[in-house]
């Protein structure tokens, strides 16, 4: 059983059931569950659909696969592979893993010393150029779009998201992620360099949780420009 599917067989078990790889007892148990559970029946059907989706010629035509393939290959070189390269560089050696573990401890120690030796009443506001970014510390990247706020610890839910851009894009897409990089919110088609927070978004943002956000700028069919990622946290 997985965490997300506590009351259901694990998806690997459903896949094995579909392939007839379970032992007879487990096969019977899963069969019985499937009779009652539309969620698992659909999970199996959708998994089967995923496995054979590239054989669907009608969908290949509908989705203009031949055109999309070029866009995907270009995007892989400019967007996906650099992230992987960076991740591999960071994950790399056991020494790098130890350093990665030690880094937050070292930062915490430095901050503690700094706090003790300075005026404790002063509020610490993360500086724009020192917050974590999803891009990590690779080669210098020309920053075109810069998120302005919300940023850092907030007393209450933000009213607006604002960013600056050195170029004028046709539209912008705002994306918010959880600290675990799960997508939380996405709004495209924004014409201004700001977005007012609607009630639906305010309800999604939970006090005490850390959120990351970034902006993409779009013009025509060219690759979108992605801003750096900054964080905020609403006080519990």
């Amino acid at each position: 059983m997985t965490d997300q599917r506590r009351d259901h067989p694990a998806i690997e078990q459903l896949a094995d059931h579909a392939a007839g790889k379970l032992d007879p007892d487990d096969q019977t148990t899963v069969d019985r569950h499937l009779q009652q559970c539309v969620t698992c029946r659909l999970e199996m059907q959708q998994l089967a659909r995923f496995e054979s989706i590239d054989e669907d010629n009608e969908l290949l035509d509908d989705s203009q696969w031949n055109r999309a393939r070029f866009m995907l290959e270009a995007g892989y070189r400019t967007r996906v592979r650099p992230v992987v390269t960076e991740s591999l560089r960071r994950e790399g050696s056991p020494r790098a893993r130890v350093l990665r573990w030690l880094a937050p401890v070292a930062v915490a120690a430095v901050l503690t010393v700094a706090l003790l030796s300075s005026n404790l009443d002063r509020q610490i506001v993360p500086r724009h150029d020192t917050v974590d970014t999803l891009r990590g510390g690779g080669d210098p990247v020309e920053v075109v779009i810069s998120p302005e706020g919300p940023q850092g610890d907030l007393a209450q839910a933000p009213a607006r998201f604002e960013w600056r851009s050195r170029l004028d894009f046709e539209s912008y897409t705002l994306e918010i992620f959880s600290a675990a990089l799960e997508p939380v919110y996405r709004q495209g088609g924004l014409q201004e360099k700001a977005m007012a927070v609607e009630d639906s978004l305010r309800l999604l943002l939970k006090p005490g949780e850390t959120y990351l956000w970034s902006v993409k700028g779009h013009t025509g069919l060219s690759e979108p420009q992605i801003s750096e990622t900054i964080w905020f946290k609403i006080a519990p």
């Binding site: 995923f50 696969w65 991740s87 560089r89 994950e91």
Partner: protein, 195 residues
């Protein structure tokens, strides 16, 4: 070093990528799955640019979390889960787009969002399984499957036809409309009482 990555199994590729950091293994893995993931995303987004964007986001997640892939499972199953969750999450954040796909119960009716709203409410309250079990007692299996794909996952009638292997689009449409009437009776009546 594995000489011929093209003949390596998925699981071997993952091991090479994770343990040796061989970026060629990354290229090979992307090449193997980009079409499946793109088509899957297109099924949800119905837009080439969005599907491409979504595919890239999914691969970034896949490559970032390869270390958590358990060797006992099939890689394609693992990728399916990531792709499915990502698409659902993305669609959920764009409910206006999803709602445009929902079917009116009859051609002359206005689109009513009560079914998708009921499923979403039940999901948010952790009662979706309970609700679907009750629906399972009143609907035929394929009716319920079509209903859930349409109102929970935002699948179009065409996609449902493909996923459930219906003979034609009107078959899937009939399934959804029949299921919807039963679901509305279920919600209105005493057959299902949400906690």
């Amino acid at each position: 070093m594995y000489r011929d990555l093209r003949s390596a199994t998925d699981e071997t590729l993952v091991a090479i990528l994770v343990e040796q950091g061989d970026e060629n293994a990354c290229d090979e893995l992307y090449g193997r799955y980009q079409q499946k993931v793109y088509l899957w995303c297109y099924s949800y987004t119905h837009d080439i640019d969005e599907a491409v964007d979504c595919t890239q986001e999914i691969f970034i997640r896949i490559f970032r979390s390869l270390g958590s892939f358990r060797g006992g499972a099939r890689l394609s199953t693992w990728i399916y889960q990531i792709a499915r969750n990502h698409c659902l999450s993305r669609l959920s954040n764009r409910r206006h787009q999803w709602r445009q796909r929902l079917l009116p119960i009859e051609d002359h009716d206005a689109v009513d969002h009560s079914c998708s709203d009921s499923l979403r409410d039940a999901e948010l309250k952790g009662q979706l399984d309970h609700l679907l079990q009750a629906a399972n007692r009143t609907m035929k299996p394929q009716e319920l499957e079509a209903f859930v794909l349409h109102y929970r996952d935002g699948f179009t009638v065409k996609e449902i036809t493909r996923t459930l292997g219906c003979q034609n689009v009107s078959g899937a449409r009939t399934l959804i409309q029949g299921a919807r009437r039963k679901f509305q009776r279920l919600i209105a009546g005493k057959e299902y009482q949400g906690d």
